[in-house]
């Protein structure tokens, strides 16, 4: 179990570094195992610094920067051990347009390379336009949900009709 964990750690580290610089267009990040007798008891530190900024306390990162850093780490884990399904519930809400675009580029990459199936809940028009297919959830009858398959223009209409 210990070898497996250390081996996974090494692989996640390599992917995380690459995905972070891809998502931020530069900068650098890494993960570190904290001191502990036994790696199975250790904690995981994250060190991240966006391009042009000094390494700092993770809590000083902005809302959008924290979301992107989390996504880079999550996807790094997927590349090592893909999960059959990934659900992302409005993770693009804190992102600006340029970062929504980078996020979608990364999603494309993950969907093509791996076997993980993605379910992406969003209100962002940009993200909707990058999906392979869209489902709309409506409450035509108030209080009762209904699922319908929509195309992009159908999704637009749904946004307006609310």
């Amino acid at each position: 179990a210990r070898e497996r964990l250390m081996d996974a750690y090494g692989q996640v580290q390599a992917h995380f570094k690459r995905l972070f610089t891809e998502l931020f267009g530069g900068g650098m990040a890494e993960i570190k195992l904290t001191e502990a007798e036994d790696p199975l008891e250790a904690g995981l530190e994250i060190i991240a610094s966006p391009p042009g900024k000094k390494l700092q306390n993770l809590s000083l990162l902005s809302g959008g920067e924290q979301a992107l850093t989390s996504l880079a780490l999550l996807f790094a884990v997927f590349l090592v051990n893909p999960s059959p399904i990934c659900v992302l519930d409005e993770v693009d809400a804190p992102l600006d347009e340029a970062n929504i675009d980078r996020f979608c580029n990364l999603l494309d990459l993950m969907a093509r390379e791996g076997k993980t199936r993605f379910m992406v809940i969003t209100h962002q028009r940009l993200t909707m336009s990058r999906m392979d297919r869209l489902y709309g959830v409506t409450m035509a009858e108030k209080g009762v949900s209904q699922l319908v398959s929509v195309d992009l223009s159908g999704a637009e209409a749904l946004r307006e009709a609310a």
Partner: protein
């Protein structure tokens, strides 16, 4: 093992039988505030064995059963099924002949819930093991609930280790 569909009836705001196809690639889910999108994520966690009512945003587990609207009466039964493709033959021995596995969880108001795989009653533990062996489960980091994307950053270092264990 691929997931191919999620079926719900009487679960939260999904009063009528509903089927969400889980196809390869990127499936977008859209709709106005309060229409039921996040309820779908909770249906997925619930059928995989989630036992905390709080994580279902309720006070008690019966809160997942359709509670009624101004035009419809409350129900007493809710059921969610997750369909998985078993072409790779990685299911537990007793089900490995089947082409498809359908894991179903059903709850009756005041009676608690039970699990079935391909219509045969099983224990909660069997379901937990099935999903664990396939690299997922109700608390998997790959199910990111609304507003929780920053949680990995805010978590304590020892809590983040679980993430590494999922990679192992």
């Amino acid at each position: 093992m691929h997931f191919t569909a999620l079926r719900l009836v009487g679960f939260k705001s999904f009063l009528e039988p509903t089927e969400l196809e889980i196809a390869p690639g990127l499936t977008g889910v859209v709709g106005p505030n309060g229409c039921g999108k996040s309820n779908l994520v909770e249906a997925l966690r619930w059928v995989m064995g989630e036992n905390s009512a709080k994580r279902m945003r309720g006070g008690e587990m019966d809160d997942v059963i359709f509670g009624g609207s101004t035009t419809r009466p409350a129900r007493n039964l809710a059921e969610v099924s997750l369909v998985m493709d078993n072409a790779g033959r990685t299911a537990p021995a007793q089900f490995n002949e089947a082409e498809e596995l359908e894991v179903t969880r059903r709850i009756e108001r005041g009676q608690g819930s039970d699990y079935r795989i391909n219509n045969k009653g099983v224990r909660a533990k069997d379901v937990a093991l099935l999903f664990q062996d396939n690299g997922t489960g109700p608390h998997s980091a790959s199910l990111v609930s609304q507003g929780r994307i920053g949680a990995l950053i805010a978590a304590k270092p020892t809590e983040r280790r679980q993430l590494l264990e999922e990679a192992a």
